[in-house]
């Protein structure tokens, strides 16, 4: 059975987007159904990928490759861009997460009552590009998806958002664009500096057929490259992330060569490149002080867009760290482990303290995301098995829990169009189910054992203390984050839900408890968070082998 699962994961939603544009606009429920069918198909496809995936193997699996662009450039060698997708233990959990969160987003989008056609086609476009982003193994392809993700997001916030939607969407767009610019520069530099050993072997006449290339020949090509025995016309440049991750494929004396002799602005270019991609992805994650687009985007975005933004898009930042920033520049990751971890700890505390100061529930959740994503950076910077596995786990866990949290904020907003905490008291009286599910989401997010949040925090903290690179006090300070999380979540719970019932909108809006649709959105997400918390090996069995391989680059000499 040779179903191209990953390609389908990318192109089914893109086809869906086309279908939605092709359908006449007079019956909007059709768009909803198309989107729902696509989202369900995505979940099924990702589950197929899950069953087809062998967690024991560290390699990329379910690879699909097609030549896309090959261009001889004379003395500049040969340009080659491939359509190349595959998953490993780092990306598969995120693909699964995306499928689930995007489905929740579609169900939540059911209540969109305004330009449905455009909305759902953009939403499906977003779905496809997000999937592409996590699965592309060709940097160019990755970048393409990364950029194309921006476009629907910009419109989804800018057209269906709240009062300050234009400010928020432009801020989001410019922030991310700055990030992509930095990533683009590094991508080009990488391309100039890396060869494709297989195609180079063919181009330099060592073998006749790419299929005949063995690992010995690759080693020989790499040796000849290191000894300047290849002419520039013979070298085939590549965007293939697998080759970029192998230090032996870097051209000596090229812009990003491993020896690091190229200096720019007084710094080795590799370090500069590391920081450039780091900033590019840190904006996405986001890391303090590059985070201020997030609260605005969340506050203005409609509920489902917030759900997708927090649940999925932020994770591309963490994924980019693992795959590109640290994955291609391990020297940078090791060299700057301390300042990077400091940024992580800073995000944890800064996000948490800011969350305490919020009057708007959605902003509070947005800042709590900043705090939780700090754990991801801390875990990655630790360069330990516990830390990295924990960071991936934390991303998946936060994806589920933050989706739940934003849906919860959406429930009250749908009723009264007011999300201020001080507009309500004692909500548990009119909305007991809502209060219960909110408490579950809050306790899950503040790291109550049994829910997934605890495992992510535990393992990233363990990793940071185990780390060869980081001093112990960082872990101690980061642990304060869990106190802050308890403080802002419980305080909100106490202010909004307990005490005698009162609402600023008592006269105008009646507060009804959860509808069926809301229940069916929130309960499965809560169950998922609980399942992952009780059986963390569900995730760790996927990530383990790939993370071990990933860490080989950081062996302490």
């Amino acid at each position: 059975m040779n179903i191209p699962i990953l390609t389908l994961l990318i192109f089914v939603p893109l086809a869906g987007a086309l279908l939605v544009t092709a359908l006449p606009a007079d019956r909007p429920e059709r768009f909803r159904w198309v989107a729902l069918v696509v989202a369900v198909a995505e979940v099924l496809l990702s589950l197929m990928a899950y069953t087809a995936f062998d967690g024991q193997l560290a390699d990329y699996q379910l690879l699909e490759q097609a030549d896309w662009i090959t261009l001889p450039l004379g003395n500049f060698g040969i340009a080659s861009i491939d359509y190349l997708v595959g998953v490993d233990g780092i990306s598969l959990p995120l693909v699964l997460l995306s499928a689930v969160v995007l489905l929740a987003g579609v169900v939540s989008s059911w209540s969109i009552r305004h330009r449905e056609k455009a909305y759902f086609s953009l939403y499906l476009l977003l779905t496809g590009t997000v999937m592409g982003c996590f699965m592309a193994l060709d940097f160019f392809l990755f970048f393409l998806f990364f950029e194309f993700m921006l476009l629907p997001m910009y419109f989804l916030i800018g057209l269906w958002g709240g009062l300050r939607r234009e400010y928020a969407s432009i801020k989001f767009f410019l922030y991310t664009l700055l990030g992509s610019l930095l990533i683009l520069l590094v991508m080009i530099a990488l391309y100039m500096s890396v060869m494709d050993p297989v195609s180079t072997a063919v181009a330099s006449g060592m073998v006749a057929d790419p299929a005949a290339v063995t690992s010995d020949i690759i080693r020989l090509v790499q040796l000849r490259l290191a000894n300047f025995q290849l002419s520039s016309a013979e070298i085939v440049h590549t965007f293939d992330l697998r080759y970029m991750a192998d230090g032996s494929n870097y051209l000596p004396s090229s812009f990003l060569s491993l020896s690091g002799e190229t200096i720019l602005l007084g710094l080795p270019t590799r370090m500069l490149a590391f920081w450039a991609v780091f900033i590019g992805f840190a904006i996405k994650l986001p890391i303090v002080p590059l985070h201020t687009w997030l609260p605005d985007a969340h506050v203005e975005a409609p509920t489902p867009v917030s759900v997708v933004l927090a649940g999925v898009l932020l994770k591309i930042g963490g994924y980019g760290f693992l795959r590109i920033a640290w994955g291609l520049f391990p020297d940078g990751g090791a060299e700057f482990a301390r300042p990077l971890a400091v940024l992580g700890v800073l995000s944890i505390l800064y996000g948490g303290l800011n969350a305490l100061a919020q009057a708007d529930v959605k902003k509070l959740i947005a800042y709590s995301s900043v705090s939780h994503m700090g754990f991801v950076l801390l875990g990655i910077a630790s360069l330990t098995s516990e830390g990295i596995n924990g960071a991936i786990y934390q991303m998946v866990s936060h994806g589920v829990l933050s989706a739940m949290l934003f849906l919860i904020a959406g429930v009250i907003y749908d009723r009264t169009h007011d999300r201020r905490i001080d507009s309500y008291r004692g909500l548990i009286a009119p909305m007991p189910q809502y209060a219960t599910l909110t408490a579950i989401a809050f306790f899950g997010s503040l790291g109550l054992p049994g829910f997934s949040g605890f495992v992510g925090e535990l393992f990233t903290l363990m990793g940071s203390l185990q780390s060869f690179w980081l001093p112990g006090w960082m872990t101690a300070v980061a642990t304060l984050g869990i106190v802050l999380a308890a403080a802002y979540f419980l305080w909100t719970l106490q202010r909004m839900f307990f005490g005698p019932y009162w609402s600023r909108h008592e006269a105008t809006h009646s507060l009804s408890d959860l509808t069926n649709r809301e229940r069916w959105l929130l309960i499965p997400l809560g169950v998922l968070a609980l399942l992952m918390g009780l059986f963390p090996n569900l995730i760790f069995n996927l990530t383990n082998a790939s993370v071990a391989r990933w860490l080989e680059k950081f062996v302490v000499g």
């Binding site: 100061a357 098995s385 393992f459 903290l461 403080a487 106490q494 307990f498 090996n537 383990n544």
Partner: protein
């Protein structure tokens, strides 16, 4: 095996039935328990080079706690069926109670620090839900939040301690801990971090202020969680991980325990709320147990934990019976109840006598064990300063007698002072409430613990734990009994001082600890968070918006430059070209005469140049 999930939306009978089953199962286990601890492991997380197992461990200490928790829980549940009869959300109440029992059993049976921590937090959740059970009352909601947050502070340190333990030893299995720990314990900082878990959960100084507030919960909850079992989890933890503590850490534990014992005792002195007196006495007794742990007297501390659980639960349930009758918690409005509630009076008296440490009651035995251990310990260090500790502990047990006698007098003696409920309407509760109270009072008698009511030397307890009761100096019993009698006499005769006095206010406000936290921690944190948010909005966003605005302004300038200079240049050159073109065109006007004139002029110029 004994982990039962909460049974939501079932009546209290089901819950009590479950607990009874648990109790019988525990008894059966006690019968079956082999000499070596039983372990149960299941893989939870496996990463290269690390394994965390969901592991459980059953040994003699755990069995003891199992019996205790099940026993008290059963009595409390039976009591609750009657006490909360009119409560709307009764099924929810029993579900929370079951959640608590399950989580508490998890702590007792946990064989791994991480698993223990997980149940530790779940117990905190149960406590949060039960304290805030009457969430319509803002005070209850606030108390629940305070309890969880203060516990979180301790738990964060506890978690860090666990991670640190894992970092140093490569394992968090309790069974492996004993062997892996180097002689002399782990680094002091690790021990102190782990101890912080106990500080919060067992309401030790400085994290003790949540416990008096926790009295907002229903009274049976106070009896079960906040007197008998949950707050004792910290003591149990210390017993479980005792080998990790370095001598310095143990010293810190002794000091904290002693300070807590005195702090709690003093705070209990002038409270007017019946439950708050009991809460502070719990704080004080827990301090005693912690101090005993610090002196290395694990079995003595556990002994006191056991006896305390019964008489304190008995006190709370009797207090519940009093509240049930008079509908107020303010002792100033009680008085003279010994005639109206004779059964409650006697139960209260027996339990209070046990708490005060009168001979023939259980508290006497366990306090002697702790004090004897403390005097033995004080002989160890080279300095005589160490004797401060046992002397202060002795003082705190005198304080206990003092405040209990005061409370006893306020509730049961003197004149009835409540105008809300007529004296003749006062009545004893029904059997469902009376039986648990009487059972607990019965269990507060020394007989159950030792056949010799004046010495626990041959108690089954120490046999069971294969420990020896520390030898007591002969005068200790005499002195402590004298102190207890003195304290009791003072407390009974005490004239209530005026409440404005600083030393009274200090007692009522428990040493102004909460005000101190409000000023030194809560307010600054809120200030900093507001400040940071302003920074976020104004500084960081200022830079972002500034850059954005700057770009727009720059774009306008560029536009202007474009329009006037670049375009000007373009337009200028267009104009110039046009002019020149017109000039050139004017020459080529199609008239032969002018062509000839031009040609002639050119020729003349050429000739002039040649010549």
């Amino acid at each position: 095996m004994l982990l039962r999930l909460p049974a939501p939306h079932r009546a209290g009978r089901l819950a009590a039935g479950l607990t009874l089953t648990g109790l019988l199962a525990s008894l059966w286990l006690t019968w079956l328990l082999p000499g070596a601890p039983v372990h149960l492991r299941h893989e939870w997380v496996t990463l290269p080079g690390m394994k965390v197992a969901v592991s459980f461990q059953l040994d003699r200490l755990a069995v003891l706690m199992l019996l205790l928790v099940h026993g008290v829980a059963l009595l409390v549940q039976v009591y609750s069926i009657s006490y909360l009869r009119d409560e709307r959300r009764l099924s929810r109440y029993f579900a929370y109670l079951q959640l608590f029992v399950g989580a508490m059993l998890g702590i007792i049976l946990a064989g791994n620090l991480i698993i223990l921590y997980a149940f530790w937090e779940l117990v905190g959740l149960a406590s949060y839900l039960l304290i805030g059970f009457w969430y319509e009352r803002p005070a209850a909601a606030l108390a629940a939040q305070k309890a969880f947050l203060m516990n979180r502070v301790g738990d964060a340190a506890f978690l860090f301690g666990i991670i640190y333990t894992y970092h140093l030893l490569g394992t968090t299995e309790l069974a492996a801990l004993g062997m892996a720990v180097p002689a002399g314990g782990m680094p002091t900082v690790v021990g102190l971090c782990l101890f912080m878990g106990c500080v919060a959960k067992s309401a030790q100084f400085p994290l003790l202020t949540w416990l008096p507030d926790a009295m907002e919960g229903p009274t049976p909850v106070s009896a079960l969680l906040h007197a008998a079992t949950m707050v004792a989890a910290g003591i149990f933890l210390l017993a479980r991980i005792h080998p990790v503590f370095s001598p310095d850490a143990l010293l810190a534990i002794v000091v904290i325990g002693t300070v807590t014992a005195l702090w709690g005792g003093y705070s209990a002195l002038f409270q007017s709320d019946i439950k708050k007196v009991l809460a502070f006495s719990t704080v004080s007794q827990l301090g005693l147990m912690v101090a005993a742990m610090g002196t290395g007297n694990v079995s003595g501390a556990m002994f006191h934990l056991l006896t305390h659980a019964f008489f304190k639960a008995g006190l709370f349930l009797s207090a519940g019976a009093v509240l049930h009758a008079v509908h107020t918690q303010d002792m100033q409005q009680m008085g003279g109840l010994r005639k109206a509630l004779p059964i409650t009076f006697w139960a209260y008296t027996i339990c209070a006598a046990a708490l005060a440490g009168l001979p023939f009651f259980s508290g006497f035995l366990s306090k002697e064990a702790i004090l004897a251990g403390a005097f033995g310990w004080a002989a160890g260090p080279p300095t005589n300063l160490a004797y401060c500790i046992p002397l202060l502990l002795l003082l705190s047990s005198g304080l206990t007698a003092l405040y209990m006698a005061r409370q006893w007098r306020l509730i049961f003696f003197g004149n009835y002072r409540n105008e809300g409920v007529a004296y003749r309407h006062l009545h004893e509760p029904d059997a469902l409430m009376r039986v648990p109270v009487l059972l607990l009072a019965g269990l507060s008698v020394a007989f159950w613990f030792s056949l010799n009511p004046l010495s626990a030397h041959n108690s089954w307890f120490f046999y069971w734990l294969s420990a020896k009761e520390p030898a007591a100096p002969w005068w200790l019993a005499v002195v402590s009994v004298a102190l207890v009698l003195l304290g009791g006499w003072l407390g009974f005769r005490l004239v209530e001082p005026r409440p404005e006095k600083v030393w009274v206010r200090a007692s009522v406000a428990y040493g102004f600890l909460d005000e101190f936290y409000q000023r030194s921690i809560i307010n600054p944190v809120r200030f900093v968070s507001t400040l940071l948010y302003r920074t976020d909005r104004q500084v960081i966003d200022g830079v972002v918006d500034g850059t954005g605005m700057g770009s727009v302004v720059l774009a306008h300038i560029m536009h202007w430059v474009d329009r006037w200079f670049v375009d000007g240049l373009v337009n200028g050159s267009v104009w110039l070209t046009g002019r020149l073109g017109r000039l050139a065109r004017s020459v080529q006007n199609g008239r032969v005469q002018s062509y000839i004139a031009t040609a002639v002029a050119g020729l003349l110029l050429f000739l002039w140049w040649l010549l």
